[in-house]
Amino acid sequence: MTDVRDKKPASGFNRRAFISGAAGAASFPLLAQAAGAAESTAAAHDPSLPVDVTLQVNGTAKSLNVDARTTLLDALREHIGLTGSKKGCDHGQCGACTVMVGGRRVLSCLTLALTVQDKQITTIEGLSQGDKLHPMQQAFIDQDAFQCGYCTPGQIVSAIACVKEGHATNDDDIREYMSGNICRCAAYPNIVAAVKQAAPAMADEPKG
């Protein structure tokens, strides 16, 4: 979705909101319409107009007004300002955008923000408790499990899911179940070590 580059803050004045407001079309009831009304609805709604979205991100409700095409990744990065989740390929191949939605790791670049409004979303920014890092974050530091760091937020979120799914019991499983996160610096041996270090420390966490 590289053509949607709305550098708009989550609230406040902006050009698009001004134009839509001035045109007298400030509200766009869209959700939960009967799908049977598809054709008439498509005609009635100008798809270029933004829609209201409320996301539960790291325990906080965030209300946005975005284009219907906006991916969860773009909503997080461009609209909410949480730039920890990274855009690598934007096609679901690299894993840099991995976040937890409803306790499951998914690719935010292939998820429309509109589709996850009823789910709890956890990003890399939601893992630490104050200054105390999540055991997996600490393990990545201790084991030097990154070089450039671009893939690291996705790696850490994915690694936590990997442990919670019960797939971190041996090296082969860790490699297999971390295979959705590509590291072009090839820090893989250290990433495996980090997952092994953090797994016992995560034993008290609820299974995801």
Partner: protein, 202 residues
């Protein structure tokens, strides 16, 4: 990506109606202006590439309660169309009695994609042919019927050898579908004229 209108399906009949209304013989469901959205892992990818160009997405995930069950009943395994690849691969009944299905799902894609992708979408996924995915090539019979096939004289080392035609040498990318054929599965299809069944291989 082109502008879209997003809708949530509230019940199966209206979702089917909305989708069927947009499809025709010359414009089958895969090319229709109204597309169902489940996992989105193929659809959003191809929309970003401008290969698929729907103007309306009908989010069928609200139908998950009814359509994602995996049940083993009297020796028959029934897989819900919205069940996710990872859930089916981890299902004890599937692992015990239908290992080929469990393995075909477990060994595909990545953990994140398997968490997202539905079984129905998996079956309907499109070819990974580079020429199909790149709209700067005009000649692709899959995208523009009658335009030719750029892969015929292009980089086609990974393209099909068997089961090809003069028109297309693209491969089908899924493993799960092969497992369904191996187990001679029957697929139950809900259309505008009701529910019908057919052998998956057909």
């Amino acid at each position: 990506m082109r502008p879209i209108t997003y809708q949530r399906a509230t019940d199966a009949p209206s979702a089917v109606q909305a989708l069927a209304a947009a499809a025709s013989a010359n414009n089958p469901l895969i090319d229709a202006a109204v597309q169902p959205l489940a996992g989105g892992t193929t659809l959003l990818d191809l929309m970003k590439l401008d290969v698929m160009r729907p103007s309306v997405l009908v989010d069928i995930n609200p139908l998950s309660d009814a359509w994602s069950a995996v049940t083993l009943d009297g020796g028959n395994l029934k897989l819900g169309v919205l069940a996710r690849m990872s859930d089916v691969a981890a299902n004890p009944d599937v692992q015990r009695n239908y290992l080929v299905i469990a393995e075909s799902l477990k060994l595909a894609a990545s953990p994140q994609l398997r968490n997202m992708a539905s079984l129905g979408g998996n079956v309907l996924q499109r070819t990974r042919c580079t020429y199909f995915r790149d709209v700067s090539y005009d000649n692709c019979n899959k995208r523009n019927p009658g335009s030719g096939c750029a892969a015929m004289n292009g980089f086609n080392r990974t393209h099909a050898v068997l089961g090809t035609s003069e028109q297309c040498i693209a491969t089908y990318p899924g493993d799960f579908a092969q497992a369904l054929i191996a187990r001679d599965a029957t697929v139950e299809i809900t259309g505008k004229s009701g529910v019908r069944s057919m052998r998956f291989a057909e």
